[in-house]
Each structure stands twice: as C-alpha cells, then as structure tokens.
C-alpha cells in the first residue's frame, strides 16, 4: 500500500512518543521535510493510551514477545468481577440503548460489560499532568497546538495523613478556608510559601543560602511548621520524601505555587481522553506543515554513510526500501543498540498500576479529578503518585473511575503498589452494590517499565535518540529534551513558532488568482 512512499527526507523520525512527536512538529514547522514512522499501528509507543480492547492486545503482545519485555515486564492483570452478570443480560435484551442516564452508579459491572463498552475507555500507559504555567502549557499555547486538544482542571490534591485521605489546601483561599489548620499555622504557612516564591536560582537569596546540603524537611522544621503542615508541604506539594534535598523541595514547591490561579483550584491540567492525545497533537501540526505519516512501518536496519563533500547521510532499511535522511530522530526503544552511544546507564525503573473502580476514592459533589500523593509507607519506598480520572475526561464509561499509580521501582510493581491500593480501595471482589466507604476495585493491572528517560546520544552526530517516559508527574523533561534535539538539528531556528490561525492563511496558487476574495466569513473568529 505504501510503495509510493518517498525515500529522501531532511529529517526522519522513528517512533511517535512524546519527544519524537515534538521534534517532528518543530522540524516540520520551520520547513524541514519530515517523514514520521512508527513500527506499530497506533500513535504514542509507550506514551499511548488504549481503549479496553487495545489494552488487551497490548497485554497479550507484551506477554508473548520477549523483546517487548525489555521495556515492559512483570505485567499482571486481574479481574475482581464476574464474567457475565445475570442482571445485565436481561436488561441488555430489553433496552440496548444508552441507559447510562438512569442510575449510572447502581450498575453491576461484569467483564462482559467492560467488553461491550470498550470504546469508552482511554487508558494511559504514561499518565501525566501539566502544570498550568509549566513549559508544556506554554509551548502548546505559543505554538497554537493548544487548539487541537482540550483539558480539564484537576479539582483537588489529596494526601494520606493519619491513616486517612485528606484534601490539601492549595490556593490562598483554600488555606484560609480549611479547618484542618489553625490560624497560627496558616500565618506560618503563608510566610514560608512567600519566601519560596521569592526563591531564585541565580541570585541565591539569603533565605536559602545555607541550605544547600540540608533536607527540605529540616528547612520546614526550622521554619517552625507543625508536623501536619510539614506533611502537606513536603509530601503533597513538593512530592518529596524525608530525604528530599532542601533546594529541590523549594524548586518543586515554587513550580506548584507558580501554576496556581491560572485555570482552576489546583495547579494541574489533565488532557481530555488522556495523556496519549498529546503526542498526536504534535503529529498533527507536523502533518499540517507537510510532514508525511506512516504507521505500521517497522525499520530493519540503520546505517550512516559519508557521501561526497564529507556529508553524512543516515540510511534506514524498511520493508525492502531504503530511506535516506540528513538527520534521524529515533525513540530509544526503536533504536538499534549499535546506534546508541554510550549504553544507557542502569537506572531505577518505574512501577505502575492501573485500577478501574466503581466510585471515587473520596466522594464529592461534582465529578472529581484527583491527584493524590502518598507519603512512603516504609523507609524503603518512594512517594506514590495517584491520579484518579472519571468519565468526564473521556477515560471511562459513566459510573467508573480509572486510577493510576506510579512510583519508583523497589521490588515489583505489584509488591510496591498493592499496599497503597489496599488503603483506598476495596479489593475483596465482593458485591458491587454493597455500601462501603471505599470504592470497589473491579479490575487491576500492575507492570514495570524500564526507565529510559536519561538522555543518551546517538552513535553519530546525525542520529538523535529520544528518551522514553520518566516517572515524573509532568512532561517537562520530554519538552526539554525535544527542544535540545531540535536545536542540534536546526541551530538558530525558532522552536515551534506560532502556527497561524486558519483565517490568517492566504491560499496561494501557481495559477493566476481570480477576483480578490473578500472575507465573507466574518463569523469566523480566530479560535480562542
């Protein structure tokens, strides 16, 4: 089908993960001739989101392909519900149409009903949030790629304190409204937060001058914060542990505080239909500016050769065709080993889990979108990040929630994360209609992902290797790496300048122009 694929490009990008997609968009945007390939039949690689059917295929693929197990391993899927629910069968025959409006929460879910509604799931392999004033939001806006996506605000930040879930006061208003903190504590907290916002790396303020080699916790204690406040700031806002270095904590806190007040109550945004949409948005921009897209296109071999005038060309063998380019941008998981130099160092892998539940971990009036940061339950553990997303985000059918757990790996995903999950879910597999404090876990998936997020270089100057997903909360490292790669390929060029709105585009042709077009589309306002 794709025999007519052209063979010569300035830039060939292999893999449609986040970093690769941003680089593809940036190169295409400034006029480079770009071919973007992926060996699989969908976008995103390890950054993809799947519907329930796609996820089942992914699980099967990983379990049957030892090569995939180099990236994803210890995969364990479990159901906590019946294959078929007898009630459902009767209902289905009578009323096959969307009955979601009537009593969505009372539904008894079965494996069969998951299969029927598979399309309503969008389950992320790499769920991540955006800081409202973080580099990705700024990039989406400044490049005008923001118009391809929609977002929802994270409605609350929770933490685990004194053996229960507690909302974390985020904004100034929250701090003053909360009853969990005394007035004296409020004053102390505000004072401390103000000095953190004033922190500036270059001109190290006096405030933090002597804290270089101390922990953030020591700093918070020094400021006289009470244990509860230290817990909020250290674990929930900075996402740290007792060992977190002071300046790292200050930076994390500042990032959080600086993103408050732009879009919602918390500093965070979540993309509609999941994080896996974002690489596709960048791919679309790349295509809009002439980038050629070809999925399902595995590559067999990568080589470099020097042609006349000492110029290096990268050649890629793919489906009995040889593709040539000046620059190859390639995802680390697609890159032949001999093209990576040096070998990536051993790093700490990531433990992940996905749960599907029949209710939110903490009831609220409106459908919540939650970030929960668990402090480590043991000294060995790291902070566990939990994201709970509901039907309004396009992640699952009504009545369900998808909950993601992420932490740095200690043993296996299951042993690292299950103790945390059991704190907030009912994992007994009992009667779904039975009233209980905790939501019922209906399905779970544990897996480990190799951490390939450390930057590596290609074996040649014209081969650029893109890192894989990291364990962090946001996309900042991916954006940063993409910009660095782009600057190597296109030195001196602007990184993703604003794309024009459709109304600003003048269609020009080789053929002589007809009568001047006068805007009769006065209704067409620029997309905001």
């Amino acid at each position: 089908m794709d025999d007519d694929l052209p063979t010569d490009f300035q830039v060939i990008v292999v893999g449609t993960g986040m970093v690769e997609s941003i680089v593809a968009a940036a190169c295409s945007r400034i006029g480079k001739n770009v071919l973007h390939l992926d060996s699989s039949d969908h976008y995103g690689g390890l950054w993809a989101s799947y519907n329930f059917d796609g996820l089942q295929k992914f699980i099967k693929e990983v379990n049957s392909d030892p090569k995939r197990q180099l990236q994803v391993y210890n995969l364990s899927e479990k159901w906590y519900i019946e294959k078929d629910s007898p009630q459902e069968k009767q209902e289905d025959d009578e009323n096959k149409t969307e009955d979601s409006k009537s009593e969505p929460s009372k539904k008894v879910w079965s494996q069969a009903s998951f299969a029927t509604e598979y399309r309503k799931f969008n389950i992320d392999m790499t769920p991540k949030l955006l800081f409202s004033r973080g580099p990705l939001v700024e990039l989406l806006i400044s490049s005008n790629i923001a118009r391809y996506a929609e977002f929802r605000c994270v409605t609350r930040v929770l933490t685990w304190l004194n053996d229960k879930l507690m909302p974390v006061p985020c904004s100034r208003a929250d701090v003053f409204a909360t009853e969990a903190v005394s007035i004296v504590e409020k004053r102390m907290l505000m004072k401390m937060l103000t000095s953190i916002v004033g922190y500036n790396e270059e001109e190290m303020n006096n405030e933090f001058k002597d804290w270089n080699d101390k922990t953030f916790k020591e700093y918070l204690e020094h400021k006289g914060l009470t244990p509860n406040l230290i817990h909020y700031v250290l674990f929930a806002i900075a996402g740290g542990t007792n060992k977190m270095p002071c300046l790292e904590g200050v930076k994390e806190c500042k990032k959080f505080l600086m993103s408050l007040g732009r879009y919602g109550n918390t500093p965070f945004l979540w993309p509609m239909y999941g994080s896996g949409e974002l690489p596709q948005c960048f791919c679309r921009l790349c295509a809009v500016f002439g980038g050629v897209y070809c999925l399902n296109r595995p590559i067999d071999k990568v080589a470099t050769k020097t042609v006349d005038e000492g110029k290096t060309v990268v050649t890629i063998d793919s489906k009995s065709k040889t593709l040539n380019c000046d620059h190859l941008v390639i995802g680390i998981n697609e890159c032949p080993k001999e093209m990576i130099s040096p070998e990536p160092a051993e790093s700490c892998d990531i433990s992940k889990a996905v749960f599907i539940t029949n209710g939110s971990i903490m009831k609220s009036e409106k459908e919540p979108l939650t970030l929960l940061r668990f402090p480590p339950l043991t000294d060995e553990d790291n902070t566990v990040t939990v994201l709970e997303v509901g039907p309004a985000t396009g992640s699952c059918p009504k009545g369900l929630f998808v909950v993601y757990f992420i932490t740095k790996k200690v043993k296996t995903a299951e042993s690292d994360l299950k103790p945390y999950a059991e704190r907030i879910f009912d994992m007994s597999g009992g009667d779904q209609l039975e009233a209980s404090e905790k939501p019922k876990c209906l399905w779970s998936l544990f897996y480990n992902v190799r951490d390939t997020s450390a930057p590596v270089s290609g074996a040649a100057d014209s081969v650029h290797v893109c890192c894989g997903p990291d364990a962090g909360l946001d996309f900042d490292r991916a954006v940063e790496q993409a910009e660095q790669i782009f600057k190597k390929i296109c030195p001196g060029e602007e990184f993703l300048p604003r794309a024009p709105d459709p109304e600003e585009i003048v269609f020009e042709d080789e053929v002589p122009r007809g009568p001047e077009f006068r805007g009769d589309d006065a209704d067409a306002e620029p997309q905001q």
Binding site: M1, D2, L5, D38, H42, Y43, R119, V137, I141, S142, N144, A146, R147, Y148, A149, E150, F151, C153, V197, L257, M258, L260, G261, R262, Y263, L269, M272, Y273, Q280, C283, R284, A287, V288, F289, G290, V292, Y293, C294, L295, N296, R297, P391, A392, G394, P500, D501, P502, I505, F507, D509, E510, V511, F517, D520, D521, D523, A524, E525, Q527, Q528
Partner: protein, 214 residues
C-alpha cells in the same frame, strides 16, 4: 471537541435569542478526492483547479443559519495523514459530524469511503452524523460510481448522501446544511464524548503569572 455552546439562549428575560451551536466536523476520504476543495468552496467560495495538498491549514470555521439556530462548524482536514493509513484517533475525538468523500470517477475511492465509514462507526462517537459525498459530479462523463449504488449504500448505513462538485459548487452548501439540520441542537444533544466543561488553552485566558506571584 466542540460541544454545543448555547450562547445567550438561557437569558432569564427578553426575547428568545438565536441559539449558537458549535460542532466539530471532520473530513475523510482517499487522497485527491477533493476534501479540501469542498471545504474551501464552502468556507471561502473559492475553487483552485490545481490545489496543492493542504499545507498549513489546521481547520476552518463556517456558520450555517437555520430557523432558530446558528450552527458553527469547526471543520478539520486530514492534513494528509490518511495517505498511509495513519490518521490519528485524536482527529475524530468528539467529532459530531463527518463528511466521507469519494470521487465519482474512481471506483477505488468509493471502496475506501466505505472503509472510512466503518472506521467511524468503530472509533468515533456513536451519535456522529455521517454524510457521504460523491465529489467531482461535474465530471459525470467519466463516472465510475453509479448514483444509485452509492444511494443504496448510504441508505443501508443511515448516512446522508449527495453528489457534489467543489468546482461548480453544486450541493456543497446543501450537504453542510443537511448535516446542520440533522445534528441534535439541544444543549447536551451532541453527546459526543461528553466534553462539556473541558477547555481549550489560550493565551490571556487569565492574568499572567506576574500579576499574582511577583
């Protein structure tokens, strides 16, 4: 993506206002069947015989006025990603309408159009309104796809159907109008993805960082 935005319709007093509903419409079809030409004709009233493959146009907008409703279409073009079967799912996300285009002088493109319809039925929102457009009807002398065949297929699958010509403008406005009429205009009627309350990001939505934190 675009949910129905009922601008001003719920004012407590005063005369009822025209409801403005915004819909995302996606174009599908084989390369070179005239997808972009249809949109360009509809939105700008233009036609270029040798229109290059679409570059730089992300989407266009155009409004259609019905009796009591103004329908604003946000029209997405494939940007060529269909060429090697690599259209991203984000393309159909939340689309409430689609026009699947084929070229009446090319039987293959009709076969591909049927595949796109299947793809939409599988991937897109279940309530999506799909129209089938047999484009290049000005080239009837070279016709390879019979009107009746396409009509029968459209009827079987519950699609709107028209033969169109971006060149002569025949049925171009009509097909968009027919879609506008068929789209549910109630506030939550779109039902596509349930994106109500989701937001696009734009500069200047809110005060800049400096005003609150410095």
């Amino acid at each position: 993506m675009a949910t129905n935005r009922t601008g001003g319709a719920q004012r407590p007093n005063g005369a009822p206002q025209t409801k403005v509903c915004q819909f995302k419409l996606v174009l599908l079809g084989e390369s070179a069947v005239g997808k972009s030409s249809l949109v360009l004709r509809f939105v700008k009233g233009q036609f270029h015989e040798y229109q290059e493959s679409t570059i730089g146009a992300a989407f266009l907008t155009q409004t259609v006025c019905l009796d009591d409703t103004t329908v604003k279409f946000e029209i997405w073009d494939t940007a060529g990603q269909e060429r090697y079967h690599s259209l991203a799912p984000m393309y159909y996300r939340g689309a409430q309408a689609a026009i699947v285009v084929y070229d009446i002088t090319n039987q293959d493109t009709f076969g591909r159009a049927k595949n796109w319809v299947k793809e939409l039925q599988r991937q897109a929102s279940p309530s999506i309104v799909i129209a089938l457009a047999g484009n290049k009807s000005d080239l009837a002398a070279k016709r390879m796809v019979e009107f009746e065949e396409a009509q029968a297929y459209a009827d079987e699958n519950g699609l709107l159907f028209m033969e169109t010509s971006a060149k002569t403008a025949m049925n171009v406005n009509d097909i968009f109008l027919a879609i506008a009429n068929k789209l549910p205009k109630s506030e939550s009627g779109g039902g596509a993805g349930g994106a109500g309350g989701a937001r696009r990001l734009a500069d200047g939505d809110t005060p800049r960082a400096s005003s609150c934190c410095k």
